[in-house]
Amino acid sequence: MDIENSNDIAINARNISKTFYITEDNYNTVKNRLFNLFNPPSAKEIHALKMMNFQVKKGECLGIIGRNGSGKSTLTRVLAGVYPTDTGYVNINGSTMLMNLGVGMSHELTARENIYISGSILGLKIKDIDLIFDKIIEFAELSDFVDTKIKFFSTGMVARLSFSIAVNAGAEIMFLDEIFAVGDTKFQEKAIKVFEKSWIEGKTVVLVSHAMPVIQKYCQRVAYLKNGNLEFIGDTETAVKMYQDDDS
């Protein structure tokens, strides 16, 4: 890593890896913990991510592709700072937000409260949120449900709200995990339009998708994962070709 351009780096991942230990029987009680202190039940090891090194530059759109179970979602969570890595380190330069369907919202709170909390966590001040509040509601098409708890919302409504918060508030580094599946066709069109118009500029985006056209359209670089290994990172066409040619 060059020191001179370290300011342009949004995420720097060095030697990261992640292993999950899954125990077969449930022993989450004080009694079982104590009885099994010196004799822990055998755990299945799942190597979700194996040693990888790479950087994400500020303002770039990095794609992540790979088959189911190849470690895409784990990788985004590690990069977003939600999961700790087992080895190495991840330097994150800015606030992050992880988006898949229905993100970061409490079902006990109203749409209004969720907007304020999410906005605040993403680094906005209350008065900035006041300014974009109407825009968020309007975009999510939820004007009649501002003070309704979102547990009464339909799945689509929740997804639209979270998408709208992300589009209008947005963290400096966004992780998008298959987000174009939100809402009905009409909302999807609207979402894609906004996404193209205002979003890509100036934001660091990590995009996870199985839809190659989406990846090819937006990403400058693509990482191809296979069984937890980073097989390739770089040129979009090469990565997509590797993914499509792989039939094992």
Partner: protein, 264 residues
């Protein structure tokens, strides 16, 4: 100039604003969703005072002067501790939506819950002062009452420490909730809330140094009711004791809590 730098920093960062926002919403969730609202915060200590008054003053006749105030101050401090500990054991599970999608610092969640409990404590404390000022005989306020502020800070550190320890152990063992319930039940009777201090010390020598909340309650009674200085030895001990628990709590948060998103 220092003030300006501080203001600048507070103005630029939205951390404090966020804490306050989260505390307010937490508070609203707890009290405003039901019919009586904030009054509930008061009903609990009042009902407890009522029960203990009957038991200890009318039946057992323990003859403590101003027994209601004596109970009042002890019970509101104790209840604050319980709300901050028993009430937060599942914190990492219930507030998962806050940290599992962003890289926010988990400590902020704890601060906001403590702040929301503090709103309730302040409300009860004012009620206590009003009651003592109007209804009790022979009590008056002196400047000693200001020392309640460091005592409350001590209580906050202690509560935060236990809150961190318990909620992170919850990741390992879900039934820590029941274990803590038993400890709390025992702890209440081993705390100087109901008893005359001399009796308490005579019967259970040394317990005021073992029980981390005992010193806080003893000194709070000294400065609010008896216009005395706190017992400095106990005061310093309580502070050190609380900081020790906070230290363990933060250690556990870093060790266990960092994996909360994947384990819970």
């Amino acid at each position: 100039m220092i003030i300006r730098i501080l203001q600048n920093w507070l103005g630029l960062s939205n951390k404090l604003e966020r804490l306050w926002l989260m505390a307010k919403i937490e508070f609203k969730l707890r009290y405003y969703e039901n019919l009586l609202g904030l009054v509930w915060a008061l009903i609990k200590p009042i009902s407890e005072i009522f029960i203990f008054y009957i038991a200890f003053e009318i039946i057992i006749k323990s003859n403590i002067s101003n027994f209601v105030s004596f109970l009042f101050i002890g019970i509101i401090l104790w209840n604050f501790f319980i709300e901050c500990t028993s009430g937060t054991i599942q914190l990492l599970a219930t507030k998962k939506y806050l940290y599992s999608y962003t890289n926010m610092n988990k400590l902020e969640i704890y601060f906001s819950v403590i702040a929301s409990n503090l709103i309730g404590l302040f409300f009860n404390f004012i009620m206590f002062l009003i009651y003592m000022g109007i209804f009790e005989h022979g009590t008056y306020f002196t400047w000693h009452i200001i020392i309640i502020i460091p005592i409350l800070i001590n209580l906050i550190i202690l509560s935060l420490g236990f809150s961190l320890i318990l909620s992170n152990l919850y990741i390992l063992a879900k039934d820590i909730q029941q274990v803590w319930g038993i400890l709390v039940g025992l702890g209440f009777w081993l705390s100087p809330i109901l008893y005359k201090l001399e009796r308490f010390r005579e019967s259970l020598p040394g317990i005021d140094f073992v029980n981390p909340i005992a010193g806080i309650i003893i000194n709070a009674k000294n400065v609010t009711m008896y216009n005395q200085m706190p017992e400095w030895g106990l005061f310093i001990w309580s502070f050190a004791y609380s900081i020790f628990f906070l230290f363990i709590g933060i250690l556990l948060l870093n060790k266990l809590g960092s994996k909360a998103a994947e384990k819970l």
